[in-house]
Amino acid sequence: MREILIIGRGGQGAQTAGNLLAQAYFAEGQFVQTFATYGGARRGTPVTSSIRVDDQPIRLRCDIERADAMLCFDDTLLDQGLLGRADDGTKIVVNSTRSSDAFSALGGYQIVAFDGMEIARRNEMGKVVNSALLGAFVAMLDDPGLETMCEVIEQTAPVKQQQNVAACRQAYQQLRNPA
C-alpha cells in the first residue's frame, strides 16, 4: 500500500486534486481510499487530502502518519510539522517559485520545487494550479499514467477542459525533462 498526502490552503484545489488523483488510480483498476478535512476548512486555512492506493481492498480507517509521497500547494505549509509525516523515502513536490535547493535546510528530504503557478498562468488558468501540480506529481510518482490523469481532468473540469489538460501535460514534461 502507498499512502499519499496533498496539502494546500482552502480554495487552492488541494481536495479536488486528491479526488482527481484517486479517480485516476481507480480508472487504472487500483483500490483507493481518499478523504479530506472538511467543515472547519475555510478559504486560506490549511487543508489535507489523504489517499491510499493498493492492489487489494483497503481496510485502514485512520490518518496517514507517514506518507510515501506528498504534494504541497504552498511552500509556507512545508514546515517541520508537515515533515513530521515524512522521512527520507518520501517523495515531495512543492509548489514554489524557489529552487529545490532552497529547501535543503529542512533536512534530508527528497523535495522537488515546482512552479505550478507559472504553468497555470501560461495556460490562462489564473490561480487555478491543481491540474499543473497533478501533472508534476504523477511525473514524480510514476503512476497513474499521464494519459489516465489527463482523461480524468478532461472529464471532470467544470470549465477550460483543454487548458487544464495542457497545464497537466506541460508540468509532467517539465518535471521529467527540466530545462
Partner: protein, 388 residues
C-alpha cells in the same frame, strides 16, 4: 449458495454518496431531510437524483430536524416508506420525536453520520450522538465502510418493516462519510427482488376511519412497551435473515456481530464502526507474529445481541472494548453494554474499557496493537481508561 447473476456497477463513491445510492435503489415514497455537516452530501445527492428524474420520491425540506422527524412519523403512519438522514446536533434535536416514532411503531429508516456534539464545536467522528439515543426504541446498526452503508440502508427496510420498529444506521464522520472508495452498486432488479413493496398492517387512511396515538390508560401504555419488547426480541433474527438474504444475492453477507479471526483467540478487540477496519489490520499483524488475537465487530447495537456476545466471548481470556464515545461520569458506552451483557457469565473474559479516538483523534493499527500488549497481562479496572 451461489450468488444470483445480477450485474453490479463499481463506482468510486464517498460513504455518504453510497448511502444516497442505497436510497435511490430503495426508492422510498417520502424523505423529509434537513441538512447538517457532515450529513449534507447525502441530501445533496438524493436531491440531484430526484431533480434528474432518477428517483421518484417526495423530498421535503422542513425548517428543522425536529420537523423533519415529525414529517417522517406522519408519512410513515400513512403506510409510506420513509427515509431521513441527519448527524449530531440534528439527531439530538430530534430526540423527543425518536421516542414518538418507536411508540408509533413507524418503520422509518434514518441514516446518521456520527459527529461530535457541541460544545465545543467540532465536526469529528465520535459515536456519542447516536449512542445517546439508545433508550428511544430505535434499532441501531453501525457501519464500517461505504459499501456496508449502501448495503445496510437496503437491508434496514426489510428489518424495520419485519418487526415494526424505526431503524437508525450510523457511520463515522470523515473516515466513512467522506472517504471515497470503490463501491459495488447493485442493480435495480436485485434490489426489487430483495425488497418488494411494503404492505403495512395498519395505516392512516380517510377511507378506513382509524386513528393513531390517542391518550390511553396506564395498562395500555404498559402493554405498548411490552409489544415493543416483543418486537425487539425479533430484531437479531431479522438482521441475520436480511443479511443472509443479501449475501445470497450479492456475496456480501452480514449479521448482528462479525467475528474476524476469532478462532482460538485469547485476546479479542471489541469495537463498532470505522475502527473495526483499522483493528483488522492490527489483528492480521499480530496473527502474523503468532499471537492469538481476534476482532469482534458489533454491527447491531440495539437491541444488544447479548446472548450472541456471550457465545462469541466464551473461552476468551481478555477482551478490549474500544469506545469512540464518552459518557461523562460513566465511561465508554459500548464498554458498559458489554459488561452488562456478560453479567454473571462463568469464565467471562477480563474486560478492558478503552476510550480510544474520542473526538476523532487518530487511532492507528500500531496503536491498537500497543493497547493489546498493554492490556493482556493486566487486571482491568472497573472504569474505562483514556488512551493517550
Amino acid at each position: 449458495m451461489e450468488a444470483k447473476n445480477y450485474p453490479s456497477n463499481r463506482l468510486l463513491l464517498s460513504g455518504n454518496h453510497a448511502v444516497a445510492w442505497g436510497v435511490k435503489l430503495v426508492c422510498p415514497d417520502v424523505a423529509p431531510v434537513y441538512p447538517i455537516t457532515p450529513q449534507t452530501p447525502i441530501l445533496e445527492k438524493i436531491t440531484e437524483f430526484q431533480s434528474q428524474g432518477e428517483l421518484d420520491m417526495e423530498l421535503l425540506t422542513p425548517e428543522s430536524e425536529h420537523s423533519a422527524m415529525a414529517a417522517c412519523i406522519s408519512a410513515s403512519a400513512t403506510g409510506a416508506r420513509v427515509f431521513t438522514a441527519t448527524s449530531s446536533q440534528g439527531l439530538l434535536l430530534m430526540h423527543e420525536l425518536l421516542h414518538y416514532a418507536c411508540g408509533a411503531r413507524a418503520p422509518i429508516v434514518m441514516f446518521n453520520v456520527n459527529r461530535t456534539p457541541a460544545s465545543p464545536w467540532g465536526f469529528w467522528p465520535d459515536q456519542l450522538d447516536s449512542l445517546a439515543q439508545r433508550d428511544t426504541g430505535w434499532i441501531q446498526l453501525y457501519s464500517e465502510t461505504p459499501q456496508e452503508s449502501l448495503d445496510t440502508v437496503i437491508q434496514a427496510y426489510r428489518i424495520a418493516e419485519a418487526v415494526g420498529l424505526p431503524t437508525m444506521i450510523s457511520h463515522d464522520a470523515f473516515y466513512v462519510s467522506h472517504s471515497m472508495e470503490p463501491v459495488e452498486v447493485p442493480s435495480q432488479d436485485l434490489v426489487r427482488e430483495f425488497l418488494p413493496r411494503f404492505e403495512p398492517r395498519y395505516r392512516l387512511d380517510t377511507e378506513l376511519g382509524q386513528s393513531f396515538g390517542a391518550p390511553i390508560d396506564q395498562a395500555t401504555w404498559n402493554r405498548s412497551r411490552r409489544d415493543i419488547a416483543a418486537a425487539m426480541a425479533l430484531v437479531a433474527d431479522a438482521v441475520t435473515a436480511a443479511g443472509e438474504a443479501w449475501g445470497e444475492l450479492t456475496s456480501r453477507a452480514y449479521g448482528p456481530l462479525e467475528q474476524y479471526r476469532m478462532e482460538e483467540a485469547e485476546v479479542v478487540i471489541v469495537t463498532m464502526g470505522s475502527m473495526s477496519g483499522t483493528a483488522r489490520e492490527a489483528v492480521d499483524a499480530m496473527r502474523e507474529r503468532g499471537e492469538a488475537v481476534g476482532l469482534l465487530k458489533v454491527r447491531l447495537f440495539r437491541p444488544l445481541p447479548a446472548e450472541a456476545l456471550r457465545q462469541a466471548l466464551a473461552g476468551v481470556s481478555c477482551a478490549l472494548v474500544l469506545d469512540r464515545n464518552y459518557s461523562p461520569g460513566m465511561g465508554g458506552i459500548l464498554h458498559q453494554e458489554i459488561k452488562s451483557a456478560l453479567f454473571a457469565m462463568s469464565g467471562a473474559p477480563r474486560l478492558h474499557g478503552l476510550l480510544a479516538g474520542i473526538g476523532g483523534v487518530n487511532v492507528s493499527a500500531e496503536k491498537i496493537q500497543q493497547l493489546v500488549d498493554d492490556c493482556r497481562e493486566v487486571e482491568p479496572s472497573v472504569e474505562a481508561q483514556w488512551v493517550e
